[in-house]
Symmetry: C2
Subunit: 147 residues, 2 copies
């Protein structure tokens, strides 16, 4: 990879952090890198394994928490009780989330993807219930695993 490109990524990461009022530290850059390198979502465990040799567990927790608060990443609910995080699209970073897309979990490779172009449907609820937010997680076979 050309040095130019790497430089660009570092610059973009730093800019993103500053825009979010977060100081630019090694752990934050490293963890953001993990997300950028990877198309799917990351479980906390993944991140800890990949960044954990260099950083303390507590730092990983606090970093992810800060990223969620600032709208850099969002959480994806799963049935197996393992929180997964994925990068928000740029519009989120402003402050409030626009997290209206569908998530997809592959039952074969276990990767989780944000289907940014698939918006969550309106759900018709029984009388008396008032919807504020709809979460949709589809389980199935992803593009790569479908032979």
């Amino acid at each position: 990879m050309p040095k130019q490109a790497t430089q660009d990524i570092e610059t973009r990461i730093a800019a993103l952090l500053k825009r979010c009022d977060l100081s630019v530290t090694e752990s934050r850059r490293k963890i953001l890198h993990l997300f950028l390198e990877q198309p799917g979502a990351l479980a906390h465990g993944d991140i800890e394994r990949k960044a954990g040799e260099k950083f303390d567990r507590v730092t990983v927790y606090r970093t992810l928490q800060a990223f969620v608060e600032k709208g850099i990443i969002h959480t994806i609910p799963t049935a197996d009780n393992s929180i997964r995080y994925a990068l928000c699209k740029d519009e989120c970073s402003g402050g409030h989330h626009h997290d209206h897309h569908v998530h997809f979990v592959c039952s074969q490779c276990d990767n989780t993807y944000c289907l940014d172009d698939v918006v969550t449907p309106d759900i018709k609820l029984p009388k008396g219930y008032q919807a504020e937010h709809v979460e949709v997680v589809v389980e199935g076979v992803c593009k790569n695993c479908k032979g």
Copy 2:
């Protein structure tokens, strides 16, 4: 409450357990009772708190696990990483689940409800993705909290 009714519930609980090839024990009866007494879903923590004085933590885990395997209860994914369980409708107990309904989490009272009559919508996925199961969780204000 008349003795008759209580007797009936106990009988139904015992019958359900037997139908599922589970021996009728005190902890299983107690935990099933908790679900029947309550309209919404129960988090593991709730159950442990309510049944935990009488039963060991491990027993609660194993009981819930057995119930899920037999299709007596099902799990509901949540964003806050706390597994919630709810009774399946009778048809589930046969063996395979018919868990195609929408779940509702109240942001005020934090109760979780199965909206048994609201079926999960079809989601149109990008080319290459193949859906097997769709999970929908709606967050909002429930019937009781909506003033």
